[in-house]
Structure formats: C-alpha cells, structure tokens
C-alpha cells in the first residue's frame, strides 16, 4: 500500500524518528505510547496474544481485562466521552472482533473518538475461513470513520499516526485497525513519521466559517423577535461550552440542548431551556416550535429531536453551524448552512459582537413567555407511597450536589436520568444516544471511573440494560474500579412497556423480565428477579436492595460513601411513564404531557 506523496509539506520539516529493532506487536505498543495512550481495555485470544505479550512488557499502559469484549469497548467509549481523548480497546479475531461491533456503531453514531485494535489470523490464512477468522475490515465498513487492515509491519507507525488523527480530528469517530498475527510477529526497525498526510483535503484543512457568514448570523439575531439556540454534541466535541455561555449571554439567547448536548450549557443557568426532543422539556420543545430564528450548533436534526421534519421549527429561519458539511440540509432545509468548527465560530462571533458593540434584540415578550412555560411545565412526577424512579434520580442529584459523572443504559431510566439530574458541565451525562445500545451504562461508568478515579461515577441503569453487561462487575472488583450502579428496577423493559401501554393496548410482547405469572414489584418483593445483591456478592461487589421510600436516601448515601464498586437495586413500580412524550414521527402539537 504505497502512500501518495503530497505537496503539503510544512515549512519546517519535522524529521521522522527511527526506532530500535522490535517486533510488530511491540511497535503497536510503541505507537500507542507515542499517541499518549495510558489505558487500554483488551481481551486476549490467539490472534491478539502477541499484542498482550507486548503490553506485558511495558509499564506505560494500563491494560484492563474486561469480562466481555463489548464491555471493554463500551468502557473505552466511556473513557473517551468523559475525557474527550481517544478511547482504545482491543480484541482477538473472529468472535472477539464481532463483539466490538456495537461500540463501533455507537461511536460512529455519537461521533466518539475510538480506536479498536483487532487481532487477525495469519495473512496467509485470510479468506480461507481459518479458525476465528472474520473479514472484520469488510463487516465494519458502514460504521467506521476509517479502517485499516495492516499487511506490512513497516506500515504500522504511519497507520497508527493516521488512525489517531482521523479518530480525534474534525467530526470524531471510530477507526479500526486489523492486525494479522504474522504482522505482529515480524521483526522490523520502525520509522515513526513526524507528520501525517492525506490525499483528502478535508482531513488536513478543517472548514472554517467565513466572516460574511458570521456577520449574517449577527444580522439575523438582531432582526429576530423569537430566537433560540439548539445546541448539540458538536459543542462538546469541539470543547466550546465556555464560548457558548459567553455567546448566549452576550446575545441574550435562550439555549435548548439535545441529549448529546446535555451539559454544553449549564442547566441551572437562567437562559437554559434544558434539553428538548421526544422526551425533552415541554418548554424547550415549544421554544423550538415557535421560534422565528433557530441557531442550530453542532447537531444533526435527528428524528428524536425533530419528529416530523416538515413541521419542525416551521416558521423559523434556520442557521446550521456544523463541522460536517454533509449534515447541512440532510434532514431539514436551512436558510444558512455554515461549515466550520463551532468553537472557532463562536469565538469569532463573540469577538465580532464586542467589536461592533452589538446590542441584543428586544426579545422580552418572547423570553417572558419561555420563562412562564419553564415555570409552569417543569419536568415533574407524582409522589407515590413507593419509591418512583424519578425520585431516585432526584435524590441522587441532591446527595451528589450535581457533581458526578452519570452513565446510563437505554430506556426510561436513561430519560429520567437526563430529566432529574441537572448537568452544568459537559461530559457528565454519558449515554448511548444515537445507537441506543442497551448494556452501555455499567462498562461506560467503568471507563469513566478509570479516567476520573477521584470523581463519583454512577451508572443509572434499568434492570434490563444492566444485565446485558453485568459481567463487568468482575472487572471493577479485580481492577479496583469504584464504578457504581443504581438500578431502577421495575422488572420490565419499561420503555417498550410504555409504548405497549400507549400504542399497543397494553399487550405485553416479551417485556416482562421475571415470571409473568408472579411479577415482582414493591408490593410483591418475594417475586423480584433476579437477586442483584446476590449476583454482586458473587462478584465480590457490595450491593443493597432498597424497597422502602424511607430508606432511599440512606441507601444512596451508603452507595456514595462506599469505597469500591457498588450495586444499589432500587425497586420501583413499572407503571411510571416518561413524560412529556412526542410520539415518533409526530409534532410538538401532539406532545403528551400526561
């Protein structure tokens, strides 16, 4: 695989670095160290054993053995989402590699920088259905930002440098590197390039908003009577939360985020409309529905945000700033598409406002309306004699004073976590949002806790999702990773049950997790299944079940005070629905408030 020589050589030409003689596997480890990697989640097997041997020879990288490759890959994603750095995981060929697939697709959907290394069979066996062979390069094609199958060990340094650049630059995403066993075993003297070069110009020169476009945005704001910001995950990827705060304050604009954008703008700020979309704040949805100017920053008009796109922000002029030009006019036609890094665009907008002495438009009637909605229709729930799931989240928020990293599985609990925990900082709500992969929560918490050992990291999970990667309790116990899980246990697949109740006449289609003739609940504790406390105990992890409302607070406090992994099994009724709700494909006018 020759690499085209490019005429883009920088003025001061950095020299490549020639390494000592080593084998391919050691070269891989050396490349990881050079990219600043200090932790990898890796599960060994025949085709990746050389790499594990090489990892055993270094003390610069902590190798964490997950108990399932999917757990390891979600942990790498949790690490990446919490830090903004590239997460790294590794698996052997065949079944090891296929177990990484969900995390790769997840990182692709949510634009998370992830590197997946996979062992591959000896290159002479490729294509022959050798033991544990799959064409991983081929099967991951639709869900990667890029991928490599290394056929020559000499290419390793260049490929790794490129791969890390691709994963973290522009709109981040997953990159896989498939490494045949003979490549790992080859002796070579590696040459580590100082720079990366690409034929595709988009990879080296990121698009930038033009001065005219920025000026036009300010004009649109000045003319608007009902403006609102729609802020997405791109703000977090580009590290633009401080710039957003300045921008919103200077231009006096209220901000509604997506779920990916949660924490990009402080939710306690008076200009915050929290998050909107299918289960988002009613006031956020009304604001976007009624506005006359919608400033979409780093988001992609996902169907869970827009509902029926024809009726989405129907009377608004729409500005869309995104680093990925292929997102412009994809789901929704916009007035002003701007290709560029959001942090750069916001910085320059802020400077432009100062230079021009920009006066925000008079939006008092609009903001009065928004604040009235915000006051009258907050996220709310009704008290019960039992612990309700929303209450458990709210109590966790209160006891952690909002200062924890929260991860989630997928379903009702995922929405309640975002509704009743307030996020004032980015990278605090880590959730599989585009793909919606159940089982994400606990391994993601494990990855985040490895990155931030001094912070509380809590997986708010469902009893369905938690079971999907429950084996990672072993990893946390053995590796002394104090990731905690608070299970909102309703003995059902709650979100599907909610849809059954709303749209399918409450007919249960495989949504009961225990014995359907004797369903466990706060009123029927003997039938609760499974016994999460006993499971945790088997893994050597402390656990506690809480059923009584009066014990909730103390139980959560005990979880927080425990110095080690912990499973708190909170028994809740299955009858709660996530509200508000805009049914799929419908509009804000169809929003269900109760």
């Amino acid at each position: 695989m020759p690499k085209p020589a490019k005429p883009t050589a920088p003025a001061a030409f950095p020299q490549p670095d020639i390494g000592r003689e080593m084998n391919g596997a050691d070269c891989v480890v050396e490349c990881l160290i050079r990219e600043g990697v200090n932790v990898i989640f890796a599960y060994p097997g025949g085709a990746s054993q050389e790499l594990h041997q090489a990892l055993a020879r270094t003390d610069k990288i902590r190798t964490i053995l997950p108990r399932h490759e999917q757990g390891g890959s979600f942990a790498a994603e949790g690490f990446a989402r919490a830090t903004g750095k590239v997460g790294v995981c590794m698996a052997t060929s065949g079944p090891g590699a296929t177990n990484l697939m969900s995390a790769i697709a997840d990182a692709f959907m949510d634009s998370i920088p992830l590197i997946c290394l996979t062992g591959q069979v000896y290159s002479k066996f490729i294509g022959k259905m050798a033991f544990q062979e799959t064409d991983f390069y081929g099967m991951t094609l639709p869900v990667v930002k890029h991928s490599y199958l290394v056929m020559d060990a000499k290419e390793l340094p260049r490929i790794f440098k490129e791969a890390f650049h691709i994963a973290r630059s522009g709109r981040p995403g997953p990159v896989i590197i498939d490494l045949p066993k003979d490549v790992q075993q080859t002796r070579l003297q590696p040459v580590f390039p100082a720079t990366v070069e690409f034929s595709n110009p988009l990879l080296t020169s990121e698009p930038r908003a033009t001065d005219e476009q920025l000026s036009q945005i300010l004009t649109l704001i000045a003319e608007a009577k009902k403006p609102v910001i729609y802020a997405g995950g791109g703000l977090i990827s580009s590290g633009a939360h401080a710039e957003l705060k300045t921008f919103a304050e200077k231009a006096n604009l209220m901000v509604a985020t997506t779920l990916m954008g949660v924490g990009a703008f402080p939710e306690s700020h008076k200009l915050s409309l929290q998050w909107f979309g299918m289960h988002g704040a009613a006031y956020g949805n009304w604001a976007v529905d009624q506005c006359d100017l919608l400033l979409c920053l780093g988001a992609r008009f996902d169907d869970r945000i827009t509902g029926n796109t024809a009726h989405f922000a129907a009377s608004a002029k729409i500005v869309h700033v995104d680093i990925d030009a292929s997102e412009h006019n994809k789901n929704k036609r916009v007035l002003l598409p701007v290709a560029g890094d959001i942090r750069d665009a916001l910085r320059r907008l802020n400077a432009l406002m100062t230079a021009r002495g920009f006066t925000p438009p008079d939006t008092k009637p609009w903001q009065t309306q928004l604040n009235a909605w915000k006051r009258d229709y907050p996220f709310a729930y009704e008290q019960s004699r039992h612990i309700v799931p929303q209450e458990a989240v709210a109590t966790l928020y209160e006891l952690t004073k909002g200062d924890a990293i929260i991860t989630t599985g997928v379903g009702q609990h995922q929405m309640w976590a975002a509704q009743f925990y307030r996020f004032n900082e980015p990278r605090r709500y880590l959730s599989s949002l585009g793909l919606g992969a159940m089982g994400f929560g606990y391994p993601a918490a494990m990855g985040a806790k490895v990155a931030f050992p001094d912070k509380q990291v809590i997986d708010i999970d469902g009893d369905g999702s938690f079971v999907m990667n429950i084996q990672e309790l072993a990893t946390c116990h053995i590796e002394k990773i104090a990731a905690k899980a608070m299970i909102l246990n309703n003995q059902h697949l709650g979100m599907v049950v909610q849809w059954e109740d709303r749209f399918y006449k409450s007919i249960r289609g495989n949504t009961i997790l225990g014995d359907e003739n004797n369903i466990g609940s706060p009123d029927n504790p003997d039938a609760l299944y499974p016994d999460f406390v006993k499971i945790a105990e088997g893994f050597g992890v402390k656990g506690r079940r809480v059923i009584k409302k009066s014990e909730l607070k103390a139980a959560i406090q005990e979880m927080l005070d425990h110095d080690g992994p912990y499973v708190l099994d909170v028994i809740v009724p299955y009858t709660e629905h996530v509200l508000p709700m805009i049914p799929a494909g419908k509009t804000v006018k169809d929003m269900l408030l109760k």
Partner: protein, 156 residues
C-alpha cells in the same frame, strides 16, 4: 434521474468497497461502474452511473467526500463531461453474413478485433446512443457475448 458520478480515489484495496457501499447502503442500484488507475498510479478514477432520488444522491456524494481515501467526488451535469464507453461484442458470422457485418462496422466506425470461422468480435467505442444503435443492427445476426466498460467520463 440518471447521474454520472466521478470519484477520484487513492489506489488502495478496500476503496472501491467503501465507495460502492455508500450507494448500496442507501438502496441505489448501480447501472454501471468503472474503476482504473489514472496517469498518477497512486490514484484511480471510479465512474458510477446510477438512477436515484436527487436529495439522497446529493447526500451520498457529500458523504463520499468525507471518506479518507477520496480526493474528490463530482456529479456531472449534462454536457459537463465527455462521456464514452467501450464495448466488445461477439456476433455470429458465417462466411455469408461476414461481409454484411463488416459493412455495418464501417458505417459505425467500429473495429473487428477477432475473426473465427463462426463469429467475429467487434470493438465499439462511443456514447451509449451509438452502442445501442449498433447493437440493434447486429442483433439479427445473433449476439453470442458482450462485455462493456460502463460509462467513462472526464470533465471538459
């Protein structure tokens, strides 16, 4: 509508699969596809002809441009590019029919590149209209085999 899309890519394994996947993953049926190196052996040009929904295709092209190994991707408008195709067609030709076939070849300025006792292989170059007209005339003799490059296009 029919589109002729030209994609300049790095000449590496897997690139064709990525480009083709961008169309197949969206349910586009490719009418023709050609790939070969350019004057720079490190680069190849892929020419794809397909029919499809305007907006969906526009998105596919924008997403093509994001692929690491893609240098450029263009959807040629009518007359924006020179468009040609090479076709090899084997026609049944006994001694009686041969001279008549040769006459048709002359008129179409095509070349007979192989002759055997019972058939000839003819090389046809031109736009798709010419290929279609030629095939219509030789069809009565009996077409025994056909291979074509698919459309090649180069910006004027």
């Amino acid at each position: 509508m029919r589109h002729t899309i030209s994609v300049l890519v790095e000449n590496q394994f897997g690139v064709l699969a990525r480009v083709a996947g961008m169309f197949s993953g969206r349910g586009f049926n490719i009418d023709s596809l050609n790939v070969a190196p350019t004057h720079d052996p490190l680069l190849s040009r892929i020419t794809v002809v397909l029919k499809g929904d305007e907006a969906a295709l526009d998105l596919a092209i924008k997403q093509l441009r994001k692929l690491v190994n893609v240098v450029e991707a263009v959807d040629f408008k009518a007359d924006e590019a020179v468009v040609r195709e090479l076709m090899l067609v084997k026609v049944k030709a006994d001694t009686k029919a041969r001279s008549e076939i040769m006459q048709i070849c002359d008129i179409f300025r095509t070349k007979i590149v192989h002759v055997s006792a019972g058939d000839v292989i003819i090389e046809v170059t031109g736009d798709e209209g010419k290929a279609a007209a030629f095939l219509k005339l030789v069809e009565p003799f009996g077409i025994l085999g056909l291979a074509r490059t698919g459309v090649l296009a180069l910006k004027r």
